[in-house]
């Protein structure tokens, strides 16, 4: 197992590129970054984050839930208020809109915790550090 440390983003990316071009399998390379570097993701490949589905489903659930709540509540006790229709869509859409944002955000946050595997019990127990420098760790490939 070899480890490399860098203070500089460009040099970190250069080495990462060289390692991948030199034939190291991306799954054997582990990196730590003090801040986000989108290029590292491009070099190591991998599928795009599926987080968008969590945001989408959260948002849709919020919208549907908002409409269902408002329509159910007025139909369960149908009384005309201020001459407005029982199912008054414009104000109900507003509730749906707000719940879209609320549930979409919470859905995305929950998805993030799930996908990024946080909170990480192992990291907390081992007191693993968030490094100040860029780190590349290359693990040796297991031979069958």
């Amino acid at each position: 197992m070899a480890s490399y440390y860098f203070d500089n983003r460009e040099e970190f990316l250069e080495r990462l590129r060289a390692l991948v071009d030199g034939g190291a399998a991306p799954e054997t390379i582990r990196i730590r970054m003090p801040y986000q570097v989108p290029e590292a993701e491009e070099i190591l490949g991998g599928r795009p984050s599926p987080l968008r589905f969590f945001a989408l489903f959260g948002g849709l659930a919020g919208f549907g839930g908002g409409l269902a709540l408002t329509i159910y509540s007025v139909l369960s006790w149908p009384i005309i208020v201020g001459g407005k229709p029982i199912v008054s869509l414009p104000p109900f859409l507003l509730i749906g809109y707000l719940l879209t944002i609320l549930c979409g955000s919470l859905g995305a946050f929950a998805g993030f915790l799930l996908l990024a595997r946080l909170p990480s019990g192992a990291a907390l127990a081992a007191d693993a550090e968030f490094p100040e420098r860029f780190v590349i760790i290359v693990e040796e490939e297991e031979r069958p």
């Binding site: 500089n8 983003r9 080495r15 968008r52 509540s73 369960s76 919470l106 995305a108």
Partner: protein
């Protein structure tokens, strides 16, 4: 000597040190400030207790002015919250670089302002213990809230805004909490470690983090426009002259961003000095924020003109008389101060020297917020005092209790902000490092070199 700025300081370790230095042992001035603000907050809760036990008669509210200073405070504080979201979410989507100097404190300001704002409808309720009637829950009485009422939209809007802002604030801080964990020893470091959820900065974590931050910014951006629009509909959906107008939503949103920006300036100028953050929050950054202040002030002035034009030329005698009463009646001194603070004084921001004068910006920030508070007061009170029927006209003067609660709300807000400045990283450390590195690269500067290959411990 050239002053240190983000462009020329040695980024990485220095940023961490400078920002986390604020988490050190506080001085006596800070403790005195916390003590004073805590006393003011205590006054708020004591006076609220008085209102609960003795009744709302202790306030100056009356017939016909049933919404007065407490609701003014609610609208004011919700407005203050807005520029936090503007700076953190909208400027993020527009990739405005100066945002990293302000976003953390602006986000904190949003949350604290919303917490303070949320108190006022509860205080105004009188019987606060039945506040849960506002929430939709399956009760044994089979009664649901009236979803056609703007007051119920308000509950949803403000609650959504608070929760989304909290998530955004916390998510933005996770890597910085991990930095605090690394740098601070002992129990405090462990607490920051727990709060950072064991963040290590792996590719997997950063990848999903980047997407999450983008989604949260995208979700929060429409809230900038919608929350204060909904607050404005509390008024505009009614038929009270002076309130019943379609211009209210954009008018309120512009006012909210205007007052919130002024509050960001008022808070960050002293914070920058006390925490020695001059290299990170420069005069250039303040100039950029002052331009937002000027822009929103011009929108406010425009809406004043449109509102008054509609009243005078709209052909509705009630609207015309209400406007004349607002500008020339019992509340005319307040109206005049409002116009001076919101429309005239911000014009000084056209002058570059004044835009870059922190002393003037600080004073202007306070004056703008006085003006914006008065705007809400004049809108709410004057319209209720004189609506259609002269037989039902009246007037309002606030009581000592309401005044004390208002002052106390500022105490509570500043108390929360002071605690934030000592307990959490006040600047976005990782974002500043990223921005500084990108600037270095753009400038063609070569940073430090690889230290070499070594065994991983």
């Amino acid at each position: 000597m050239r002053p240190e700025t983000l462009d020329n300081i040695n980024a990485s370790a220095r940023v961490e040190e400078d920002v986390l230095a604020a988490l050190g042992r506080p001085g006596w001035r800070y403790l005195a400030g916390v003590g004073l603000c805590a006393l003011l907050a205590l006054m708020l809760f004591t006076l609220w207790g008085g209102l609960i036990f003795r009744g709302l008669g202790l306030s100056g509210k009356n017939h016909p002015v049933g919404w007065a200073m407490l609701i003014t405070n609610f609208v004011f504080w919700v407005g203050i919250a807005h520029s936090g979201t503007l700076i953190s979410a909208v400027l993020f989507l527009f990739r405005a670089r100066f945002r990293t100097s302000f976003n953390r404190s602006a986000e904190a300001m949003t949350i604290f302002a919303l917490m303070v704002a949320g108190l006022f409808p509860l205080i105004h309720l009188g019987r606060v213990w039945v506040f849960y009637y506002l929430l939709p829950y399956p009760s044994e009485r089979l009664i649901w809230p009236n979803f056609r009422s703007p007051l119920v939209w308000d509950v949803f809007a403000v609650t959504t805004y608070l929760i989304v802002s909290l998530v955004f604030f916390y998510v933005g801080m996770i890597p910085d909490l991990a930095v605090a964990r690394r740098r601070l020893p002992g129990v405090r470091g462990r607490i920051y470690g727990l709060l950072s959820l064991g963040w290590q900065g792996t590719l997997r974590q950063w990848r999903h983090y980047g997407r999450l931050y983008l989604f949260l910014a995208a979700f929060a951006t429409p809230l900038v426009a919608s929350v204060h629009s909904i607050v404005s509909w509390d008024f505009a959906v009614s038929i009270v002259p002076g309130w019943h107008t379609t211009i209210f939503a954009p008018y309120f949103v512009a006012g909210a961003i205007f007052s919130g920006t002024a509050m960001v300036i008022t808070l960050t100028i002293p914070m920058r000095r006390w925490l020695r953050l001059e290299p990170y929050i420069t005069v250039d950054h303040f100039e950029a924020i002052a331009k937002i202040l000027l822009f929103t002030s011009l929108i406010i002035t425009y809406t004043y003109l449109v509102e008054h034009g509609l009243s005078l030329y709209g052909g509705n005698p009630f609207e015309r008389d209400q406007y004349l009463y607002r500008a020339l009646g019992d509340y005319r001194p307040l109206f005049a101060v409002m116009v001076i603070c919101n429309s005239l004084l911000p014009l000084t921001m056209f002058i570059r020297r004044l835009r870059r004068s922190l002393a003037w910006l600080f004073i202007l920030g306070i004056l703008v917020n006085i003006g914006m508070w008065l705007e809400r007061f004049v809108i709410i009170t004057a319209s209720l005092a004189r609506d259609y029927d002269p037989y039902a006209w009246g007037s309002y003067n606030f009581s000592v209790v309401e005044f004390g609660i208002t002052i106390g709300s500022f105490g509570l807000f500043f108390l929360l902000f002071l605690l934030f400045a000592r307990l959490l990283p006040v600047l976005a450390v990782t974002e500043i490092k990223q921005g500084a590195e990108e600037r270095h690269e753009e400038a063609g500067m070569q940073g430090a070199s690889e230290r070499g290959s070594e065994a991983y411990p």
